[in-house]
Amino acid sequence: MARMNMIQAINSALDVLMDRDPDIVVMGEDVGYFGGVFRATAGLQAKYGKTRVFDTPISELGIIGVAVGMGAYGLRPVPEIQFADYIYPGLDQLVSEAARLRYRSAGEFTAPITVRSPFGGGIFGGQTHSQSPEGIFTHVAGLKTVVPSTPYDAKGLLIAAIEDNDPVIFFEPKRIYNGPFSGHYDRPAKNWSQHPDGEVPEDYYRIELGKARVVRPGADLTILAYGTMVHVAAGVIEEQGIDAELIDLRTLLPLDIETIEASVKKTGRCLVIHEATRTSGFGAELSALVQERCFYHLEAPVERVTGYDTPYPHSLEWAYFPGPVRIGEAIKKIMKD
């Protein structure tokens, strides 16, 4: 076991897999010699060579399109999109091509690609370095969407994602690359070295896609979260001293409905948290599913705490961010009902 932050864990996942499978290639803007603007691919080009780890033209369309072709050849490409905010130019190749290739060829051609991309706010990145577009991808049949919340999970999930024979969108919550974050932006930053989930095996291991993690069992309320918000929620639970069951979804699609259903049927209350804008965000799907399946167990409406329906503002970042105050208020509301 080693101590790793999330960047190092992702780097380790790539390293371990590239060593095992010569068909894995890593590509993207600045990922080669430099090792990525967040350093997630540092050292890989030196180790595996320029034809397996390389920089690309600044064309997200081209990056995904070329990866689809490589996948059809038989490689297992791991393209990086530098920020999730920049994935839209490549969306057609993801939605119309990668996601539908297996279907339209009845299984003859597949696109076993894993698109890694840092997402989410909390770093004063303004509207174009803070977005959380995961909801869009969960609407597209044929794509899987994964969001880790710890270094341990990041490595295990990334390995499973790359080994998966379907296209996977792997969103990395950049706010917690270096350490967990309680949402109290005015308190000293923590780093992963003090956190148990910063303990990461150096070797190969997988965390199966589609399985959520119960971060904390509880009886009074179910909280569904993923990425950065898992830590913010955990902080509020601790501060408020309530007996909430906190579920880290880890994979948004396919979703671990069993764990969710069992929990809400037990607690009778459910809060959904995400940083993405509210309307038609993934929280809407979670809310819809929970009320469809647990209706007769619910003692209060399923509530959502999310980013507001505005672009991510720069200076008012902390007013926008669904932080402890908002989550705390929502919990009080649900528990009162």
């Binding site: 399109g65 072709g69 190749q93 339209r104 060829s105 009845a106 051609f109 044929g142 998966d164 409905i257």
Partner: protein
């Protein structure tokens, strides 16, 4: 709004084709270089050494049907007859399937009439295992590679024999075995994919190259640009073919930029090899493709080829070209018909005659007819003989996640309740 006395008001230029319905078509001003006049650079020359080829027209067959000049690929009569037959079979296939659609046997069809030389001669110039990423108008590749017509028709009918399980629109073929990539309904997306496939082949030290096709209208998509950029940067072993048939549904090529320059000239912009070729001259098509393939195979990088041709029929069964272009264009078009031109050449060589041609036409027509009969045994669209309903849920993912399994069960239960046959 600002006006200045010393400046003219700005004007928007909106392209307009030369001829509209009712107009006399006259292509007298389209420059057609003589066959044999265009030089053939060595395959290892630098792209900058032959920019002029992007503005000319590689042509081999002259008016008398003779093969002339440095691009003559010097094919054996057997090969020539093979290409001719593939073109004829493609045309017969198109005719029959077009009619099938009109008879209500399927929802949609697209012909490649007048453009058969492109896919058919190219199939001969490429290796059988070179990977093709076609648009919807290269059915000739499959036919020239002797892919079973019944299989193609099953796809067109979305019937029980359709390997694609009725999931795709008619003519969106796919066969890994035939090195023919699943056709997409989204224009130009195959271009960067072909480049990626070629890059993968180069990463692995393979010897197979990739080729890809799009229409001149589709070159405006961002995919075209990213394909050319990536191909140029990584010197990918790929041939990018722009089939300039001058029309994109109702929009003439001016809306893709043809008033300003050729499509082959795009290659110059990217610093890659570019050729402009008479797309109705099967020998020129073959020679250019072979030349580009040799460049790719010897690590000289990508080639962009514009094939200058004419879409002789409507865009698809949903289109009626008489609404937007002169009915005369097809006959007045100066590069003729690719089948007639190759036929004339073979006859000039003394390797063919009218009787053999008529016999061949009959043969391919019968072959197509017989295939159609066989295919229709598997059903036609909308007449019950589709794949079982639950196949709809297959191949979304490698393994079916719970939500799809649940939807599948729900569908089967509802169908059962309503007395609907599901298999």
């Amino acid at each position: 709004m600002s006006t200045r006395p010393n400046l003219p008001p700005l004007r928007l230029h909106v392209p307009e084709p030369k001829f509209r319905p009712g107009d006399e078509a006259d292509f007298g001003d389209v420059p057609i270089p003589a066959a044999g006049a265009t030089p053939r650079p060595a395959v290892d020359s630098a792209p900058a050494a032959f920019h002029d080829l992007a503005y000319g027209l590689v042509r081999v067959l002259d008016e008398k049907g003779r093969a002339v000049g440095p691009w003559d690929p010097k094919l054996s009569p057997d090969t020539l007859r093979g290409i001719l037959r593939a073109m004829a079979k493609t045309r017969a296939f198109d005719e029959r399937m077009y009619r099938a659609q009109r008879q209500g046997k399927t929802s949609f069809y697209m012909k490649c009439t007048g453009e058969e030389a492109i896919a058919c001669a190219q199939a001969y110039a490429l290796h059988r295992d070179d990977m093709c990423f076609p648009s919807y108008r290269q059915q000739g590749l499959l036919i020239a590679r002797d892919w079973p017509l019944v299989d193609m028709m099953n796809q067109i009918y979305s019937n029980k024999g359709d390997r694609l399980a009725g999931k795709q629109l008619p003519i969106m073929y796919s066969t890994r075995e035939g090195s023919f990539f699943s056709i997409s309904g989204n224009l130009a997306t195959q271009l960067p994919q072909a480049v990626g496939w070629a890059m993968a082949s180069a990463i692995k030290g393979d010897t197979r190259i990739a080729a890809t096709w799009c229409g001149e209208g589709s070159t405006a998509e961002g995919d075209f640009h990213s394909a050319c950029t990536f191909a140029s940067v990584y010197r990918a072993p790929v041939i990018i073919c722009v089939v300039n048939n001058q029309w994109a549904i109702s929009s003439f090529s001016g809306f893709a930029g043809a008033e300003a320059t050729t499509f082959a000239a795009r290659a110059i912009g990217y610093g890659i090899a570019g050729l402009r070729v008479d797309g109705n001259d099967a020998l020129a098509v073959y020679a250019a493709t072979e030349w580009a393939a040799e460049r790719a195979r010897t690590n000289q990088g990508p080639t962009l080829i514009e094939f200058f041709t004419y879409r002789a029929e409507g865009h698809s069964t949903s289109d009626d070209p008489s609404a937007y272009r002169s009915a005369q264009e097809r006959e007045k078009w100066p590069l003729g018909d690719p089948i007639s031109r190759l036929k004339q050449h073979l006859i000039a060589l003394g390797e063919w005659d009218e009787e053999r041609h008529a016999a061949m036409d009959l043969e391919v027509a019968n072959e197509v007819k017989a295939a159609q009969k066989d295919a229709e045994k598997n059903g036609i669209l909308g007449h019950g003989m589709h794949q079982p309903m639950s196949t709809m849920f297959q191949d979304v993912f490698e393994t079916m996640p719970w939500h799809l399994e649940e939807q599948r069960q729900e569908m089967l239960a509802e169908a059962k309740a309503a007395g609907i046959e599901t298999s």
